[in-house]
Amino acid sequence: MARNKVYPTFESAVADISDGSTILIGGFGGPAGIPQNLIVALRDQGAKNLTIVHNTAGFGLSTIGYAAPKDVIYNDHAILIENRQVKKVYASYPFPPSPTARSPFKEQYLAGEIELEIVPQGTLAERIRAGGAGIGAFFTPTGVGTEVGEGKETRIIDGKKQILEYAIRGDYALVRAHKTDTMGNLIYRGTARTFNPVMATAATVTIVEVDEIVEPGELDPEHIITPFVYVDRIVKIPKEGE
């Protein structure tokens, strides 16, 4: 019998995350594809000195209307940063697109209270992919001749200057999917997919929140994006009224 990975609550799924953990968080910018409930549970759980890997350094908490109706405030890792749980962020797009938007990251960064490693988006995705695939590092032309390439090992490969970028792995990945079976085969929805499938592969413990859980055999194997081997814990997002 395959192990049942379904956890009863978001709290129980994040309970063991310890201080100093590196956490990969899925999503892109707006609320779509962000594991909002797991992030809230992690805020309430209180683990400190976290390193967060995500495309942004948190766009939540501000009504900027990015990929969401203007009046919707959603939860992302901005609430962890606001709660002073984060010491370092890896991101490609750390600052909100609107300079007037509220951003705990920006406030702490400008005060020198939080560390940032800014990484080109494709390099970030590939570093995480490499982390999940057992690749230690790779050469890429992205960032050559820019600040990103400074101090990095360089080679000319195929006539093109390239820089060495190292893999990123997480202790935990927090992932948002649309559907799963109880074994953890994941299906995503639209542009909510983003970093989620890549991050699911690159952490010691991958925790997923989903809209719907079905029995093994009920999902078409041809449609599965993340195979169950990458998934450790599953929590269902309660529908309104549940």
Partner: protein, 221 residues
């Protein structure tokens, strides 16, 4: 002061340069406007780096909005027949692997060699790289769409960029509110001027010396 093209008109000129069947990624700002200016009969495939290819126009009818279907600017979009989704690592494999025909980005500065600076804002003291560095390096052709000068009338087309770079020797064409230029090995080739602008006036607002195309013409708008 002489009248310059507005942002919409710059985007319209860029749209004319995009051929049928091209795979195109648009950055934020003026490039964003290009999507809605492609004539309906021209089939262009827009890619957005968070994992969608072949999306359609922005959905305006609130009843039909689905926030799981957006472009990179965060607008809800229609899915055209043939639309597909993929994850971030696949998306940037597409970008770096040379599968995007044209990327259009905004810029703070472009050098005469085609170096691009567009991510770090001196007035803020910070900036966002996003997908720009990968797109600039990986796309077949990189177009820049921007105003020709800063608000203070300083040239944005310079001999050497003073702002932090996004990519070196990457830009192929520049579309501004007064001119269309191509970056060539010999330097910047002035190909088109906006209505009522002279070569001398354009040169005065451009730091490197422009090479004048033998086919120099007024922009057709």
């Amino acid at each position: 002061m002489k009248e310059r093209l507005d942002r919409q008109t710059i985007a319209m000129r860029v749209a004319k340069e995009i051929p049928e069947d091209a795979v195109v990624n648009l950055g934020i700002g003026i490039p964003d406007l290009v999507a809605n200016l492609i004539p309906e009969e021209k089939d262009v495939h827009f890619q957005a780096e968070h994992g969608i290819l072949n999306f359609g126009s922005i959905v305006l009818d609130e009843e039909k909005i689905d926030w799981d279907y957006t472009d990179a600017g965060g607008h809800p979009v229609e899915l055209k027949p043939g639309c597909c989704f993929f994850h971030h690592a696949d998306s940037f494999a597409m970008v770096r692997g040379g599968h995007i025909d044209i990327t259009v980005l905004g810029a703070l500065q472009v050098s005469e060699k085609g170096d691009l600076a567009n991510w770090w804002f001196p007035q803020w003291g910070f900036g966002n790289i996003g997908g720009g560095m990968d797109l600039a390096v990986g796309s077949e052709k990189l177009f820049v769409a921007m105003e020709h000068t800063t608000k203070e009338q300083n040239p944005k087309i310079v001999k050497k960029c003073s702002y932090p770079l996004t990519a070196i020797e990457a830009v192929k064409m520049i579309f501004t509110d007064i001119a269309v230029m191509e970056i060539t090995e010999a330097g910047i080739l002035l190909k088109e001027f906006a209505p009522r602008w002279t070569v001398e006036e354009i040169q005065a607002l451009t730091e490197p010396r422009l090479i004048i195309s033998p086919e120099l013409a007024e922009m057709e708008l």
